[in-house]
């Protein structure tokens, strides 16, 4: 009798597992295995992300940040190990459209207006026209681009395009948002503005975010946890709990902010040695 777990224990164990948004165990990625151009992009990765977390991935170029994000998105399969999203295999989560994505290039479709770009995922999910238009209006309001609803992407600035891409990623209220250097191409002022927008959206919608960046201040400002990655093969070097709480204009001048910036920078130096 005693070896059989009680009903309660079994249930709580199951809940413990399923309350994780991302659960990566022993995942590795080798590109072109067995060929002369074989690349060991990721060593064994273990990572758990809970609901409502804001995770940033930071590390030297080529350390596998984008690869890790693609594994979570199930755009590529792991070479070994498992990747679970919302308690199911990442592949299933992708088919269930559990996450939204945004990349460094906005990746908007020139042939669609701003409205139709944001609508695209909703169209694919079979939303009715009325429901789509209502949601797009809300989204445009959120990213403050309502006047540009019928413009085409090429008529917008880079920052505005990136806001459209974020509105598109959020349009169907995914529980998980995966972002690969989404603000990398923006100037510093727009970038800080977009960071505040993103935090506001994150708080309002209670989504979980995984965010790749090259910028230490950005990682510290945004994240609840910053994950510092090391190269060859890509791995997690250290995890730094940040969480500056409510962020506003003065946060960037706060000593607590600088302490964390130093902490992340020190971790990165070690990795790059």
């Amino acid at each position: 009798m005693s070896e059989v777990p009680s009903m309660d224990e079994a249930t709580s164990a199951a809940q413990g597992a399923s309350s994780l948004v991302i659960d990566i165990r022993g995942a590795t990625k080798v590109f072109n295995p067995g060929k002369s151009n074989q690349v060991e992009a990721l060593g064994e990765i273990d990572l758990s992300v809970g609901p409502g977390e804001f995770i940033t991935l930071i590390g030297p170029s080529g350390c596998g940040k984008s690869t890790l994000l693609r594994l979570v998105a199930s755009l590529i399969p792991p070479s070994a190990g498992t990747v679970q999203v919302n308690g199911k295999p990442a592949e299933q989560a992708r088919l269930d459209r559990d996450y939204g994505m945004a990349f460094q290039t906005a990746g908007l479709f020139d042939w669609r207006s701003v409205t139709k770009n944001i609508e695209l995922p909703l169209e694919l999910m079979g939303w009715s026209r009325g429901a789509r238009r209502r949601r797009v209006a809300e989204m445009l309001e959120m990213v403050k681009l309502s006047e540009f609803a019928n413009h085409h992407p090429s008529e917008l600035s880079g920052g505005m395009q990136q806001r459209v891409a974020i509105a598109r990623a959020l349009s169907f209220s995914p529980s998980l948002l995966l972002m690969d250097e989404p603000f990398g191409a923006l100037d510093e002022m727009t970038r800080e503005h977009m960071q505040d927008e993103l935090l506001r959206i994150w708080e309002e919608t209670e989504t979980t975010v995984v965010f790749v960046t090259h910028s230490i201040p950005e990682a510290v400002y945004l994240s609840t946890r910053a994950i510092v990655m090391s190269p060859r093969p890509g791995g997690i070097a250290s995890i730094i709990d940040v969480d500056l709480g409510d962020r506003n204009a003065s946060t960037r001048d706060d000593p607590a902010f600088f302490t964390k910036v130093t902490e992340v920078r020190t971790a990165l130096r070690k990795v790059e040695e």
Binding site: L75, F103, G107, D110, W111, L124, H152
Partner: protein
């Protein structure tokens, strides 16, 4: 109409050039058979209007029907090649090999296959010439897609055919229209040159060779003018079609 914008400059240029041509010939007064003046060509065109018009109809039909068939085949092949690996491995080398043949040189041979006075051989030449640029450019447009756009569609669990429709085809449109502008002129050239070797005898091609053979150069030029008109109409139609099919493209090229 928005689609017609930007045509005034070439029209003015054309009128000025014609004026120069006429004026220089009037001043220097060389023998008329070397190069007839525009007024003489127009005169010959009016005198032979029925025959030239009939010739233009026949040649125009060969060019347009061949062009359309070449476009359809080129697009179908491009879609097949981008969709199926085996199709790519068989069709692409074949198309490249066929393109290395000087197709126009096949005209007398095609005449044997289809009958000396049948327009079919001429249509076949047009199709063969139009196919390649359409096929190559459309294939390039279908496959040279921003990787993040494809990944985005995959992240929405979009099907392959949906990705083709939403991303690959719109992406291929500018490539396709670039090829189509080339192919439209090529179709008329191919039709007339093919007609030199056979097909219907009242088409523009035979009209040019026969008039030139009889040193009636103004008649020959009238037929060339009719061929030019067909080419110009086709090119113009392609440009209008391009603007209608891709209203976003002018924004991309001239951002405000």
């Amino acid at each position: 109409m928005n689609a017609l914008k930007g045509f005034s400059a070439p029209i003015v240029t054309g009128v000025v050039l014609l004026g120069l041509w006429e004026g220089v010939l009037a001043l220097l007064d060389p023998k008329g058979f070397v190069l007839p003046a525009p007024s003489e060509i127009v005169g010959a065109l009016i005198d032979n209007w029925d025959a030239v018009f009939q010739g233009a109809r026949i040649t125009g039909f060969v060019a347009v029907s061949g062009l359309i068939a070449g476009i359809i085949l080129g697009i179908l092949a491009a879609l097949l090649v981008t969709r199926f690996r085996t199709a790519n491995e068989t069709i692409t080398p074949l198309a490249v090999a066929v393109n290395a043949i000087p197709i126009i040189a096949l005209a007398p041979i095609f005449n044997n296959w289809f009958g000396l006075t049948s327009p079919r051989s001429n249509q076949a030449i047009v199709v063969a010439l139009v196919f390649f640029p359409i096929f190559i450019n459309t294939t390039r447009g279908l496959s040279q897609v921003d990787r993040s756009q494809i990944e985005l569609m995959e992240s929405y669990a979009a099907s392959r055919s949906r990705i083709t429709r939403e991303v690959r085809i719109p992406n291929a449109m500018p490539f396709f229209f670039t090829a189509l502008k080339l192919a439209a002129s090529l179709a008329v050239i191919a039709a007339i040159v093919a007609e030199y070797f056979g097909g219907r005898q009242d088409a523009l091609g035979p009209m040019i060779t026969q008039s030139a053979g009889l040193t009636r150069y103004d008649d020959a030029w009238a037929a060339v003018l009719a061929g030019t008109a067909i080419g110009a109409v086709l090119y113009f139609a392609v440009i209008v079609l391009e603007r209608v099919a891709m209203p976003w493209n002018s924004l991309v090229r001239n951002p405000k």
